[in-house]
Symmetry: C2
Subunit: 240 residues, 2 copies
């Protein structure tokens, strides 16, 4: 098993950081790695906003649902799908297609994961912050994002102060299908639910009593950011 | 510079593969790495279809716009956003939110990039195949994808027969913004356009005469898979 695979398999979200900053050369490497990801048809439709302004960091922490590490992490990056860039170059660019939302989300996430792994490979840690989508309009205004720019996720990075246990993932038997889609094997799921119940009951922080099935049943019984379609369309995405 | 960062920075898309297969243990590691990626609120909404059926591989190569390596690569994986899994567990799950399309696309792409890097770190190569979105309905039928499953991209993997030059990316000065969105610096873009023109003029295959600005102007003068919104919604995504 090589260093890359070890890095990938060792992943856990880090939410508690030391106060020390990330060295400038390391940050440059992280950003260069982000930028080396594949890009659909060479479209290069992603932007990264590095937020250094302290009061904006505090506001973003609040907008993300009170996630204090958005403020305290050494770095906070906001990854955006960006077709405004193309409109600056070609004012008549055909934009607003749902396809571009998919390309933007996929390509930007590839960049994000490169950045995350580059950071982790150097002893840093991080966590994705989907919470910036709690209040997308305010985030958009705070970062002065023009139309055709869609903030997808934030990323906290820094030196880990505490490394949590790893959360067990669904078994590959459920995630990987051969040749055609297969329904869940209930006995495999039951075993996994037991594993997750044990994990939640025994972990060091935020103990709880729930299986994965119970958790997702609860999560998906509620609306999921029901304002998102309207917001996305106002930003010029998924209109057609 | 460590092995992970070297792997990331060495990336290029591989489209010509040796005939030798990927060893079973390596494939397992690639899939395990995919599965180790972050997942939004632990929702785990991704599935991977490993296509081994020869005639389906040939059909997919054609549906993806005549990309023969979809047929000839040692492995072809189709990465999907998958909320059908959750509906199997919780038939009343609230689905159809645009937010879930974003989560699905982002989380699935994080998995994809883990898989790609794991493969590259072991001397394999690969290429993302967005072309499966050329004919999403046929791909859906071929892989028997039920509602609430969205095929996002394919991935060819195998041992490289030919390693192409690296394609220069936009300068970080354009991709990374500090604190707020900044418009493109035209002089930085002009330099990059020159660099890309030189790259296209001098590369070993598919020489052409175009800058990046010219290329994206041409790409974005046409509609971008205009059937996508209708297809996505028929699959139960981005309805609200």
């Amino acid at each position: 098993m090589n260093h890359t695979i070890e890095t990938i398999l060792q992943h856990r979200s880090i939410r508690q950081f030391k106060v020390e900053p990330i060295e400038a050369e390391k940050l440059q490497l992280i950003l260069a790695c982000a930028n080396a990801a594949s890009t659909s048809s060479f479209i290069q439709c992603s932007s990264i906003i590095r937020v250094t302004n302290k009061s904006n960091r505090a506001l973003l922490a609040e907008l993300a649902g009170g996630q204090s590490y958005v403020e305290s992490a050494a770095e906070f990056l906001v990854f955006c799908a960006d077709f405004n860039r193309h409109q600056q170059i070609h004012p008549q660019a055909q934009l607003g297609f749902a396809e571009q939302t998919l390309i933007g989300a996929v390509d930007t996430a590839l960049m994000g994961q490169n950045a995350m792994l580059a950071a982790e490979s150097m002893g840093l840690g991080g966590v994705y912050i989907g919470g910036i989508r709690n209040n997308p309009q305010q985030v958009t205004e705070l970062l002065e994002l023009p139309k055709h720019v869609l903030p997808l996720f934030g990323m906290c990075l820094g030196y880990p102060a505490k490394v949590p246990e790893q959360k067990p993932r669904l078994p590959l038997d459920i995630v990987v299908h051969q040749d055609s889609y297969q329904s869940i094997d209930k006995s495999v799921l039951a075993k996994y639910d037991n594993e997750i119940s044990r994990y939640y009951a025994s972990r060091n922080r935020n103990n709880k009593s729930t299986s994965w099935s119970e958790q997702i049943t609860s999560t998906l019984s509620k609306e999921s950011r029901p304002f998102m379609l309207e917001y996305i369309q106002a930003q010029g995405f998924s209109l057609k």
